[in-house]
Point group: C2
Chain length 418, copies 2
Amino acid sequence: MNAEIISVGTELLMGQIVNSDAAFIAKQLTGLGIDSYFQTVVGDNPGKIKEVIKIAESRSDLLIFTGGLGPTQDDLTKQTVADHLGEELVMDRTGLMHIRQWFERSGRSMTQNNERQALVFRDGIVFPNPIGQALGTYIEKNEKGYLLLPGPPRELEQMFRQSVTPFLSDKYEDQQVILSKTLRFFGIGESTLTTLLDEMIRNQTNPTIAPYAGKYEVTLRITANAATEAVCEKLVDETKAEILAIVGEHHYGDGDESSLAEVVGKKLLESKSSLSAAESLTGGLFQSELVKVPGISEVFAGGIVSYQAEAKQRVLGVPEHVIETYGMVSPECAVAMAECARELFDTDLAISFTGVAGPDQMENKPAGTVWIALSKKNGPTAVQGFRFSRDRLGNREQTVLQGFDMIRRHLMDSDLER
Amino acid sequence: MNAEIISVGTELLMGQIVNSDAAFIAKQLTGLGIDSYFQTVVGDNPGKIKEVIKIAESRSDLLIFTGGLGPTQDDLTKQTVADHLGEELVMDRTGLMHIRQWFERSGRSMTQNNERQALVFRDGIVFPNPIGQALGTYIEKNEKGYLLLPGPPRELEQMFRQSVTPFLSDKYEDQQVILSKTLRFFGIGESTLTTLLDEMIRNQTNPTIAPYAGKYEVTLRITANAATEAVCEKLVDETKAEILAIVGEHHYGDGDESSLAEVVGKKLLESKSSLSAAESLTGGLFQSELVKVPGISEVFAGGIVSYQAEAKQRVLGVPEHVIETYGMVSPECAVAMAECARELFDTDLAISFTGVAGPDQMENKPAGTVWIALSKKNGPTAVQGFRFSRDRLGNREQTVLQGFDMIRRHLMDSDLER
């Protein structure tokens, strides 16, 4: 049993959007233990869609389509699949009512073409769309499954979680279980990591170990295959322990969703350490990442974005002589910023970021020069310097991650001291 | 002449990463006037890669591979394509030297498997990798082209811009020219937009008009096809003028890259209007989007992230009675925040955001309740209320965009008054 994802949309072929739907579905399939060996993208063209269907039928059991269910004239997926299979589409009454109500509630006028979004296979299954209009639908023919889902990512994701996952897990529940865990590393490169783990990776069978170099971090995905989830978990955990014995220092968390910000947020909440921030080159990026963590308002007070020099003095209170003597891009300025923020917001910790995002230099310091300071209620202020070599946004993103890692390492050390 | 993008990587099939490479290449091909009807994703498996090659050869002229050129054992693309074609791979001396130097410079130890990244087709063409190690390479056989490019997005993009684009445009320069322009709209839904433009969309031939609903905005892509770029431009501009005569009010910019933040940043710079911000629920997101605009430090002073109530009073200076009488999620608090920020930072404009990001309610106000205020040096403070219905991050992102739109409309009105 294996599935193929077929994304329909000329906007994908023209590069107007990134195919995040395929990544989402692929991750769900992995979680369900359903293999997938191919993904295909095709434009809004019935002839080419049919070509793709024939190829997919020859190599996959379940064809999952996304996109082309909307109200516009180039939305043709349902009609094309129905035509290919010789199956009939009918209007779903509940879906139609739902669409009409949606337009009434939102006060917008409903156009005729919106009704097409309620079409489903007469002899198939319907998946409701809780936040949009286009219904999902499924039909089986000649031992192949055809699952049609909407393209807008939010609609797809809600529909999948609410009704497609239960449907698929019900249908394929006697499959062998596959379990994956992703280990996340910061501050180590892919080739160093894989060299250190060379023997393990070379001898992998079950679980398998797949390294992946992300933009700023490296992940290892451990995947086990067994009759039950418990056996899978045991296999994965053993391999994880072996890996961490070698490269544990750089490991900050597990899972596809976890981020350094989240890990740090949770540690702050656990240790009840309040935090504030003073951001110069990062312009608020550190704080906007931190507030993604649910419940963070308990420990995160707020911060200052001091983008212009004047703001550093006026609002943050950095002494004029610090900026005049050492410049804004200096460890001294970073320390003063962190200490001022900690006093202003009266927090246990305060972090500061100053530097040159680029592309131009500043104060004769090259783009990518960054100073990060961490002021602590009980202890001396720490400061670290970096030289990044990315573009403007990349330098900022890496700066923010280094900041999170600095807090993470501080909180880990505090844990050890207790 | 048409190209097919083949992305190689099990991490794509497992949904660990999103296929941004395919979107990037697709966009470049569109710009070069090279058609592309299919994209395929396949895992790190030689047998399946060969299956995919055969299908692609039957329907496309140029096969563009990304991924699988790295140093790890599952990087097999070059070997598999060479094996399929019966072509030989050789070590590129310059590339090898470059790899060795890179490791020397960075002080990391070089492992044997890194050398494989310098393999190229003996009878092919080499594309250097200015920021990484794996070389790109191209070969032609039986009138088909095979272009192999690295997977890491930054490496791919630099290599493409520096050497692949000149190579392809040289090769296919006698093609018909295709020119696209994307018009961006905020504050109008896809179906309203397409209904208003129904007649134009129905009668489209050349240029074509393709609507696309993004997460928070709608775009229209106008694509013209002609013998010269000048003719294409004329066709596109005429269609654009027709569209704007109908829905111009909601049009904020052109191009795939432009964002509301950028448009607003440019308008601020043009009008020399200085700006500061006070952010509550958005936690710095507005400011971190704004600082993406190059040169913005001329007009953007900085801001306060007042995440906890105390910070609103202590640091920002919002009067206690405002919060006590009206609550933090109120138009009165938004107005006070904007006015306090404008005074603290001494700017022409200041924008404030307060509200409930969710998922829980606050002060008995449901998630998604948002107030945005814009304080002006010369004029009364404006305030607007919204009720969004997305998740925590979605409510924040939409809030920030509404803020940018509020500034955009204010600056447009100021333009008219002059």
